[in-house]
């Protein structure tokens, strides 16, 4: 069907652009591979958990940076978590931002930390947006009766 074909093409273009721009990396592909008949909603579930977790982490980060006396170890811990989850999902830019953020934590550079917190937040919301769009496209394809093309 045309709609399916169109949707699929849209999907492929979009996801390729995401890969090109570095929003997502190969890990996302791996996640898609894990989705099978026994686990049809795997990617959605993982991504939702990722969003939930990340919101919480970002809040924690913001509050801990705003403390009178900043506990950089704690901040580092949060960033580490965030890095872990973003790399598990394949959110490459978020992960990279986290890596740089950690450096500032090690140096106990408060200014750098707040800057990078904003950056990480930014990247997160960006990728969240993209992922939501992507998943919506997938839904649409499925609803239209097609199958989601797998990118290798």
């Amino acid at each position: 069907m045309e709609i399916v074909g169109q949707l699929q093409k849209q999907y492929v273009d979009f996801i390729n652009s995401l890969f090109r721009e570095g929003y997502l990396d190969d890990q996302y592909v791996q996640l898609q591979k894990l989705q099978d008949d026994s686990n049809p909603e795997f990617v959605v579930e993982v991504v939702s958990i990722f969003f939930e977790d990340s919101e919480k982490l970002l809040n924690d980060l913001a509050s801990s940076i705003q403390q009178q006396v900043v506990d950089f170890k704690k901040v580092d811990g949060y960033v580490h978590q965030f890095k872990g989850s973003s790399s598990s999902v394949g959110a490459q830019r978020v992960k990279n931002a986290c890596v740089a953020f950690r450096n500032f934590c090690e140096e106990k550079n408060l200014d750098g930390c707040s800057r990078f917190l904003n950056l990480v937040k930014q990247e997160f919301y960006l990728v969240k947006n993209k992922l939501e769009t992507l998943l919506r496209l997938e839904q649409q394809i499925l609803q239209a009766g097609g199958t989601v093309p797998l990118i290798e």
């Binding site: 996640l31 894990l34 993982v46």
Partner: protein, 740 residues
């Protein structure tokens, strides 16, 4: 002045009398006038005279008296009333003044007298002070002399100079006629004249030491006056008249051993020298106390200085000796080094040069064996081959031994089949043994592990050598080889009490006993067996090569394997038993900290279905946890995902085959879990595999993981294929290959 009753002039008929009176009065007046003048003159000259007022009074009194007498001159003839009045006034004045003076004198004369006594007292005092000053001065001079003497004496460390200086300075200070030092001889029975002031080289007078006078001097540390006629004092031809007084003092000769650390040097040295000092003869000088004191002090100082000199001499001698020894040692060391170098060079050359022709001989002889030969020729070739093999073995032995001695030999550790080793050795020896009609039996204990870790080649060498010797030296009978795992009681060799091996989980001690019924060995020769090239006795068998390096090398190898080797024998003709113990490792217990490397299994042999495989995943990151769980579920596993270390340890059961621990937690939780899991399953054989998942490529992580007993480390991100290969390797090999 009765004649001066001048109110009524009387004109005695005696004019001579009058004339004399007249003259006397005149002179009296003169004197009276001149005395004050003199007084004034002299008092003016002397600056100090406290009683000026008295003088004035006195002067006035005298002047008036003089005036009276002068005026009296006019009263001898008729005189006018004026003269009488003047006379009267003068007399009255005189009376007044003289009375005043008399009264004054009453006060003054005692004073003057006391002045005199004070003067006398002061003079006495001054004389006394003078005397004391004299004493102090002499004392101070004595002290100065002593200091100077001491300085002179101590300024040198040469014994002769010290003594010479002492005598010279003493002689000078005290102006002695003669000064001598008598030293005890080696025997200690006599005193010998060693130094004198005036003779340069005194002839060796000796005096026995046991004279009472000498004992008296030696018994006190004070200077003692002795008689000039005593033997020690008779140094010069007797003086013309009275020889001067002589004093003797002892000089202790101190030794190093006298200086204890805590006490003062005890003067129980028993060795004294005698210093004799003689005052000049024909002088009336006597020994003063301060001079005696000076002599005593000097004697003490001399003792100390002498001992210093002696110590210095000793230390100089010792130092010279040490230097000589050092030089000799250095030379010896260099020679030894040269020798070692030469030997190494020689061996290196030998190695190559000798092996090459050897190989040629052996190779060609074996080739020759393959060709058509007559029986005689065959025999000859076999002999050649056997001999050259022996020679080759000997060369190798020599080279091995030198390497062993250098300490540069290292064992090639590897896993090998222990049982097979024995069987092979047996096979090699059996032909020779059967030729000699010897029976060989091999018994391996049941607890002997099949595989072991050690240097297979060298163990074989030792075994062959020992068994070979047993065969060589047995003409008949049997040889039995037995091997078992040594328990502690059997490990101790009474001959080597320091050898205290302790078997452990990782290694065991293998004990091999080779008993033969051969020639036996004289127990006295046993220690020599293991020394190089020592031939114990002339052997009559044809194949005798009893001397050689075989046993020496065996001993070295066995020592390298942390074991012991020894031979027991009850005597000639009673056979002998060779026993050696070596340390071998149990296979499967690796001491290495690295995870072992095994070639990677290619992918297409992997099982793709792990359905029902029960696994546990621990990750405190919910996203990561879900991803890993999904991954494993995709591969068909039955996954239990937990988020904390405690939960993990709790839920793991023996049914689970693998536990995946996410090690990206910046903490030691992951390692702790591994340790606790080990503890939980320590008694069981069905512990699940523990694998760490980490994004950290640090070597530390790998080492820490292997330290806590993990079976593998996997680097994130993990693809499906990677997880598949990980699982299959775990299940197939029991440990993970490279954690890529």
């Amino acid at each position: 002045m009765e004649a001066c009753n001048c109110i009524e002039p009387q004109w005695p008929a005696d004019e001579l009398l009058m004339k004399y009176q007249y003259i006397s009065d005149f002179f009296i007046a003169l004197a009276y006038f001149s005395i004050p003048l003199e007084l004034i003159y002299f008092v003016k000259k002397s600056a100090v005279f406290p009683y000026r007022w008295v003088l004035v009074q006195f002067g006035a009194f005298i002047v008036l008296c003089g005036a009276t007498h002068l005026i009296n001159l006019w009263t001898f003839t008729t005189h006018s009333r004026t003269v009488a009045v003047v006379m009267t006034t003068a007399k009255i004045l005189t009376a007044v003044v003289s009375c005043a003076t008399a009264l004054m004198l009453v006060h003054i004369i005692p004073d003057l007298l006391s002045v005199k006594t004070r003067e006398l007292f002061l003079k006495n005092k001054a004389a006394e002070l003078d005397r004391e000053m004299g004493l102090i001065r002499t004392q101070e001079e004595t002290g100065r002399h002593v200091r100077m003497l001491t300085h002179e004496i101590r300024s040198t460390l040469d014994r002769h100079t010290i003594l010479k200086t002492t005598l010279v300075e003493l002689g000078r200070t005290l102006s002695l006629e003669e000064c001598a030092l008598w030293m005890p001889t080696r025997t200690g029975l006599e005193l010998q004249l060693s130094y004198t002031l005036h003779h340069q080289n005194p002839v060796g007078f000796t005096v026995p030491i046991q004279l009472p006078m000498i004992n008296q001097v030696f018994s006190t540390n004070r200077a003692v006056k002795i008689s000039p006629s005593s033997p020690v004092a008779r140094l010069r031809p007797s003086g013309k008249y009275m020889p001067g007084e002589v004093v003797a003092v002892r000089v202790p000769l101190l030794h190093l051993s006298n200086f204890q650390i805590n006490d003062w040097p005890e003067l129980s040295t028993k060795r004294y020298a005698l210093m004799v000092l003689m005052l000049p003869s024909d002088s009336a000088r006597q020994w003063h106390v301060h001079e005696l004191e000076l002599v005593e002090v000097v004697a003490d100082q001399v003792a100390v200085a002498l001992s210093h000199a002696a110590i210095l001499e000793e230390s100089m001698r010792a130092r010279d000796l040490l230097m000589q020894q050092n030089v000799a040692l250095d030379l010896a060391r260099r020679e030894a080094e040269t020798a070692v170098r030469a030997r190494n060079d020689f061996l290196a050359v030998m190695n190559h040069e000798m092996r090459t022709p050897m190989h040629a001989i052996i190779a060609l002889s074996s080739l020759l064996q393959e060709t058509e030969l007559t029986p005689e020729q065959r025999l000859m070739v076999e002999t050649i081959l056997k001999s050259s093999n022996l020679l080759a073995a000997l060369i190798n032995d020599v080279l091995d031994l030198s390497k062993l001695e250098d300490g540069s030999l290292q064992l090639d550790m590897g896993t090998f089949n222990l049982h097979a080793l024995f069987r092979e050795a047996l096979n090699l020896i059996k032909p020779i043994a059967s030729v000699k009609k010897l029976s060989i039996t091999l018994s391996l204990s049941s607890d002997l592990p099949e595989y072991a870790i050690g240097d297979e080649k060298r163990l074989m060498q030792v075994l062959l050598n020992v068994v070979g010797n047993a065969v060589k030296f047995s003409k008949e009978g049997s040889i039995s080889i037995s091997a078992f795992v040594a328990k502690s009681e059997y490990l101790r060799d009474p001959r080597a009490p320091e050898f205290f091996p302790i078997p452990s989980d990782n290694h065991f001690y293998l004990r091999i006993q080779v008993k033969d019924t051969g020639l036996g060995i004289n127990p006295q020769d046993i220690p020599k067996l293991f020394t190089k090239f020592a031939q114990s006795q002339p052997l009559t068998t044809k194949n005798s090569s009893g001397g050689g390096l075989g046993l020496a090398i065996c001993k070295r190898f066995v020592n390298l394997m942390e074991g012991q080797i020894w031979i027991e024998s009850e005597g000639l003709g009673k056979g002998s038993t060779a026993i050696f113990i070596v340390k071998l490792g149990f296979p499967g217990h690796s001491n290495e900290s690295r995870l072992p490397f095994v070639p990677k299994v290619p992918g297409n042999h992997m099982p793709t279905n792990f359905s029902g495989l029960k696994v546990v995943v621990m990750d405190d990151n919910s996203v990561g946890r879900m991803v890993t769980k999904g991954l494993l579920m995709h591969l068909g596993c039955d996954v239990l995902a937990v988020g904390s270390a405690d939960e993990c340890v709790r839920v793991v059961t023996p049914e689970h085959k693998v536990v995946f621990l996410d090690a990206s937690v910046p903490g030691a939780d992951t390692y702790e879990v591994a340790v606790r899991l080990h503890e939980k399953f320590s008694k069981r054989l069905d512990r699940p595999f523990i694998v760490a998942l980490t994004g950290n490529t640090d070597r530390m992580v790998k080492e820490n993981c292997s330290r806590v007993g993990m079976d593998g480390v996997v680097l994130k991100p993990i693809s499906v294929d990677k997880m598949r290969s990980v699982l299959s390797e775990l299940l197939e090999h029991g440990f993970l290959v490279e954690s890529q």
